[in-house]
Subunit: 434 residues, 2 copies
């Protein structure tokens, strides 16, 4: 077939399709996009992966980068390395702007790229619900880069607190407010409570005991996707670790100094972590009626975006209509993205073979959240448990999912080291200048 | 004595000197500053360390961060951790602006800090010799943050090259020009040659063999501080590894696209690494006649800054007048800074005891530079050697010097891993957003 003039592919091999071979373009190399690409390895298709970052990151451990327990490189993996030795696989670093489903191409920051099949796995981003003040002043924690910025900010505030002469101003730099009672909020609250307990008294003897961590949650209990028993256990653990849990408080404003709640309460804080909600990443060229709740693209049960031919959406960016068990959409969890990716890969292969496509059926493998050293909550089917067992299970499950032998090995070593030393050790305020 | 109103110390313990106790303020926590602080541990003095970064970094390995062989955290160590358990030691994160030697205080970004003894160990920074174009467009490699920026830029250029359709433009993104034939230039050239050989062909099959590395050196041979035999060996090794060594070429301009030499030659390049010279970091309040060659402060043989009472300067920032053996000043090497720091610490203690101060006598422990896997050059006294022996020695010496058991351990693991795998693995383009 030869060169198809996809300017975003350059003049080299990626732009030359072998005779009759079709091209699958995958936008976003998160957990879903990567799984899908790997599942097509033996399908005889050309695979082009487009992502604005040159690495795949592992979202469940981002909070550990923020709390300085892990390095960014421990939970991020270069995409090109992942596809080494894969025949006819290509990666392009680009921002994707819009879809032209008539011409079957996408417009990107590096040019157009034509597709035969398009899969959108762009994931979700932080939802500030239109509150510009909060967006400007609070710290999100959705990406490795967010986590690095938050870590730098947290540590810098402690340095400021040490020389602040006004007691009230100093307390502002010592108060951390986490907004959102889901797994991310619980996990970062627990990790920061450990930092407060083990690191701060040693590194900042003058500040010991002055640090306060607030977990502000609009709902009436933490971890509302889990059982009430798990919620209660998480709350008890966090309070024991010194976290102030505030259920039923809704943040209405944050100006960089004061967090304001709808019940009139306020907290002075120079560091607000916003993990209160997500919305799907947006892409142009999608009809308005296909964009559903929180920006998720409405798909049929085969994950095909409604009304767009040969375009699929998976994971956090998609919402499936018509699944009798999940009328409000599937939870935005790693396992959903992975399972949908596997099903879409099989469906693309089926379509190539003229077979009937099969609908996605979600298999809930359980949910868990870690709270701290030897403390976690887990639910697997009807089995609900916490404490050390849940923590060890959490550790094994997440270690298994991290890509690459080297990364697994280094993460394990870091965890073991931190466990033995009872203190976090990666506390550099590090900024790339250019 | 009580509070002395040093506003930069805050209201807490650091600002309260015990009866009769003197305060040593150390500006800069590089190799020299840190060594000095540690050497005063049992002197019964209050020690205040001021640095703009909250970590001590290990300069000899910065090039490995730039070439993605090591992570920043492997060669940087939080200052507060270093002083855990030290009585009456304080760290302050601040930029130091000027000295007022009459009032015996320094002005900093967080306020004034009074001293009884002041030691300047602010080190050196990249010298662009007034060439604004080069300063704007070339990448220095003097700090961990420089190295991260250079790494991001190098990897980004490869991504651009993959989709560039003009062959001439593409080559620009594939040419790396290193300016400076000293140890830093040789080391980064060698590390990038290994990246070109082992990483690029795997990750960018279309770009294999297109990458070119130029080492441009104004002098007539590399490593001019070493023996001619070592220079020849380094050059031979680099050429064998595919580096184009250009001796006797002096860069006059770089506009971001084209490097221009004084002999009329040009090289198209989107990445220029500038390791061609350093100048001492500057501080205000120093009389002009005390500022010597390349900004180094002129000291007597006790490292006391000329004409300023109780002010010392050590390492790269200082130049000793009157040493019969080193008339042009001591080389700006780690071992000089470390030895001067130890001598100044002893002299401060001697002064406290009313004893006579002793002049600094440099003991040259040898010099070395690494070129690549199993290739290095070393000179210890009259003993000059290269190859595997020098490389192993280099490895042991540098591992010994890295601070902290954890860092040593992780650096060793990284090196072993890279050695076994013959490929670098930390190739993330990672930028902190805020």
């Amino acid at each position: 077939m030869g060169n198809d003039n996809s300017t975003g592919l350059g003049t080299m091999r990626a732009n030359i399709k072998r005779d009759g071979q079709k091209r699958v373009v995958i936008v976003g190399c998160g957990l879903g996009g990567l799984k899908l690409a790997m599942s097509l390895r033996h399908a005889g298709l050309q695979v082009v992966v487009v992502d604005r970052n040159n690495y795949n990151q592992f979202p469940p451990l981002i909070y550990q980068v923020a709390s300085a327990g892990l390095e960014p490189s421990n939970i991020a993996f270069p995409i090109r390395r992942l596809f080494q030795g894969y025949d006819n696989y290509y990666y392009r670093m680009a921002d994707v702007k819009s879809i032209d489903s008539d011409e079957k191409c996408i417009a990107t920051s590096i040019g157009t790229i034509h597709y035969d099949y398009l899969v959108l796995g762009m994931g979700a981003t932080t939802n500030f619900f239109g509150n510009k003040n909060v967006e400007r002043n609070a710290f999100p924690m959705k990406t490795v880069e967010d986590a690095m910025a938050l870590r730098n900010h947290l540590l810098h505030n402690l340095e400021i607190a040490e020389t602040e002469t006004s007691a009230a101003k100093r307390q502002k730099y010592m108060n951390v407010v986490i907004v959102g009672g889901g797994p991310s909020g619980v996990e970062i609250a627990g990790a920061l409570a450990e930092m407060k307990r083990f690191v701060v008294p040693r590194d900042y003897p003058d500040l010991a005991d002055r640090m306060h961590i607030y977990l502000v949650n609009a709902g009436d209990r933490l971890l509302k996707a889990m059982d009430a028993k798990s919620s209660a256990e998480a709350e008890k653990d966090l309070e024991r670790m010194g976290v102030h849990v505030r259920n039923g408080w809704r943040v209405t404003d944050y100006d960089g100094s004061v967090v304001t709640m709808d019940n009139g309460q306020t907290i002075d804080s120079a560091c607000v972590v916003w993990v209160s909600g997500v919305r799907a990443n947006a892409i142009g060229g999608i009809p308005a009626d296909v964009v559903g709740h929180a920006g998720r693209l409405i798909c049929d049960r085969m994950n095909r975006v409604k009304g767009l031919k040969d375009v699929f959406a998976i994971g956090d960016q998609s919402i499936i209509e018509g699944d009798p068990e999940w009328k409000l959409g599937h939870p935005q969890l790693a396992q959903v993205a992975l399972q949908q990716a596997a099903n879409v890969a099989r469906n693309i292969i089926r379509e190539e073979h003229g077979e009937t496509l099969r609908p996605f059926v979600y298999k809930n493998l359980g949910t868990m959240a870690t709270i701290g050293r030897k403390a976690a909550v887990a639910e697997i089917g009807k089995w609900k448990f916490g404490g050390l067992t849940a923590w060890l299970l959490w550790l094994v499950v997440h270690l298994r999912s991290i890509l690459g032998v080297k990364n697994k090995f280094f993460v394990l070593l870091n965890w073991m080291w931190n466990y033995v030393n009872y203190k976090q050790s990666l506390r550099l305020i590090l900024r790339s200048k250019k």
